[in-house]
């Protein structure tokens, strides 16, 4: 056979090329996703290099009454809050908390919900019914209300907050994973794997899960965004993270009384939330397209 007819995509690979690379290539074409990625990258840098940017104890935690409520300026880029703490420093350190809370709570939901969803989807039948009907109970209570109830019960702390947001997102993840697994499960390559003698767990781990990742990743990205929002909302009703931890949501909620005269106190943490959530949403949307097999 002549190989001249190979499409140019088929140029022999010397190295193994990953699908991730393809996804990345497609993702790169989406301006908004790139904008989102850049923003998130900046926030990640802030989180990682926070100690280089600002001093935690002195800038973010220490009270400084003389310098309280200073408008943004050269000394304090984003101004200072009612205790004279540097808002910029607090936002920088808040990045750690907010992203951490978002990611961990989603991880909790993903692990628990994902496992349940995968089991339900793969085995179907009675097991599916039992799992999904049980989750319907969780699903019947709107997410944030469930989170409020749980935090109220467990007490407000970073850990409990993550647990609450995590648990309340379990049914969502279970549904998405289940749907993804279902859509993969009936494809013939799963049957083909069974035909060559693969066992169930091999099939789930090697074939089903990798192929159902796309919608799950997208959902997870979007949920990190909403977890950050949920944290802020919980702060508003006094169930947020304990002070003086510089968390965006509690900065926003705590500073809201100053919205009239010292707008910047809530403006910057608000912007931080908006930008993070926005960029996660942009990435999520971008990924949705990039991972869509139909656009391959």
């Amino acid at each position: 056979m002549s190989d001249r007819t190979l499409s140019r995509k088929m140029i022999p690979a010397t190295k193994k090329r990953s699908q991730a690379l393809d996804v990345w290539k497609r993702l790169r074409k989406s301006n908004s996703a790139i904008a989102g990625l850049i923003l998130i990258f900046i926030f990640l840098c802030l989180a990682v290099f926070a100690p280089l940017i600002a001093d935690y104890e002195n800038d973010a935690l220490k009270m400084n009454i003389i310098e309280r409520l200073q408008s943004p300026g050269a000394d304090h880029w984003f101004g200072t809050d009612e205790m004279g703490r540097d808002i910029f420093a607090r936002i920088v350190y808040g990045t750690r908390i907010s992203l951490f809370v978002g990611v961990i709570s989603v991880s909790i939901a993903l692990t628990l919900g994902g496992t349940l969803g995968a089991i339900a989807g793969y085995y179907g039948g009675k097991i599916d019914n039992i799992i999904m009907r049980t989750l319907d109970i969780l699903l019947a209570i709107p997410t944030i209300l469930l989170a409020i109830t749980i935090v109220a019960a467990l007490g407000a702390s970073i850990l409990n907050l993550m647990i609450a947001v995590g648990i309340s997102n379990i049914p969502g993840f279970a549904r998405v994973v289940r749907a993804a697994v279902l859509s993969v499960k009936d494809q013939e390559f799963i049957e083909a794997a069974r035909a060559i003698g693969s066992r169930d767990h091999t099939i789930i781990l090697k074939h089903v899960l990798p192929n159902s990742m796309a919608p799950i990743i997208v959902f997870a990205t979007l949920k990190v965004a909403s977890a950050i929002m949920a944290t802020a909302s919980l702060s508003f009703i006094g169930l947020g993270i304990q002070p003086p931890t510089p968390e965006w949501g509690s900065m926003l909620a705590g500073g809201r009384a100053y919205i009239r005269d010292n707008m910047y106190i809530v403006l910057y943490p608000g912007l931080a939330i908006v930008l993070t959530v926005l960029s996660l949403n942009l990435i999520g949307d971008g990924l949705r397209d990039a991972l869509d097999p139909k656009l391959k």
Binding site: A140, I141, P142, L145, A152, A232, S233, I237, V266, N281
Partner: protein, 308 residues
């Protein structure tokens, strides 16, 4: 169809039983003793003990749960621990307000997002599309209490167009409903857009065009109805988000709804009231989703035939 609706309604029972148990369980984890809270400061040990007995607080959780369920079946949701008022009466007074708010919000966001989604899809990658999406996304990225405060400052303090809060007439409904709507606009818009994009690639759209149907009618008559099916699901789910968002919005806008009541009750450890609120929330959320499922059947005849 009727059978299906009845079956779905029957399904609500086990779910509600589960919901109540779940909440019962969660609340039981809360530290703090209800009796001391009810009696407040300076109550004697004895009185506390008596009250605990009276309320059955010393019974095992499952017994308390059972008793609650028995009362509930008889239509008795108990009395608020903190005010002594009947929970059912309180909820009857407050729930319609939340309902009014969320329904208006849903209508608002549907009214905004479906057209934007459709136009965005038909002009994919145009300026309108991009701006529409970015605006919707920013909407979803703003904490609603923040949006609410900003809207109050802008529209009621600075411009004086709307009252800053309370519940007096249509005007006072607009700001809170809009605040709530903003958050769900994004997802509805996006779903509409992507399902619209999906639909306009379908063969039957080409068929319609090949029949000579004008562009406008292709969109309105052929594409929209099909594109609405996934959008409708999202609207159902968004209703849950709205109910949750109502908790914050009701506080900011002094809206006497059930969301605020629930949070206040949680803080007072007013178990019967919390349970009442959660039941109503869960029930209305489930019923809305049931209605949505039935709506499907009207939009999509394929589903209807499955039900009968």
């Amino acid at each position: 169809m009727i059978k299906y609706v009845i079956r779905r309604l029957m399904m609500l029972f086990p779910v509600m039983i589960g919901v109540i148990f779940l909440v019962f369980f969660i609340i039981s984890l809360t530290p703090g003793d209800v009796a001391t809270i009810i009696l407040g400061d300076g109550a004697t040990e004895e009185r506390i003990k008596d009250l605990r007995e009276e309320l059955g607080l010393d019974d095992p959780l499952i017994v308390q749960y059972g008793n609650y369920m028995i009362d509930l079946v008889q239509g008795d949701m108990g009395k608020s621990y903190s005010t002594g008022l009947s929970v059912a009466g309180e909820i009857k007074q407050r729930f319609p307000n939340t309902f009014k708010l969320t329904i208006t919000a849903i209508f608002l966001s549907v009214l905004i997002s479906i057209p934007i989604g459709v136009i965005s899809a038909t002009r994919q990658y145009s300026i309108f599309d991009n701006i529409g999406m970015i605006v919707a996304l920013i909407g979803i990225s703003m904490p609603s209490f923040w949006t609410g405060l900003i809207l109050i400052i802008l529209f009621s303090l600075k411009l004086g167009w709307f009252p800053s809060g309370g519940m007096k007439g249509i005007m006072s409904l607009i700001l809170p409903a809009f605040t709530l709507a903003i958050a769900s606009t994004a997802s509805i818009t996006r779903t509409t857009r992507s399902s619209m994009l999906e639909v306009i690639r379908q063969d039957y759209i080409t068929t319609a065009k090949a029949k000579g149907v004008s562009r406008r009618s292709v969109i309105n008559k052929h594409a929209l109805k099909n594109a609405l099916i996934p959008a409708v699901t999202v609207i159902g789910l968004e209703f849950g988000v709205l109910l949750g968002g109502a908790v914050l919005t009701e506080t900011v806008f002094s809206w006497p709804g059930i969301g605020r009541l629930m949070v206040e009750s949680i803080q007072r450890k007013d178990t019967p009231m919390v349970l009442g609120c959660v039941i109503v929330f869960a029930l209305s959320f489930s019923i809305v989703n049931l209605i949505i499922d039935i709506l499907y059947a009207f939009i999509d005849p394929r589903i209807k035939s499955n039900y009968s």
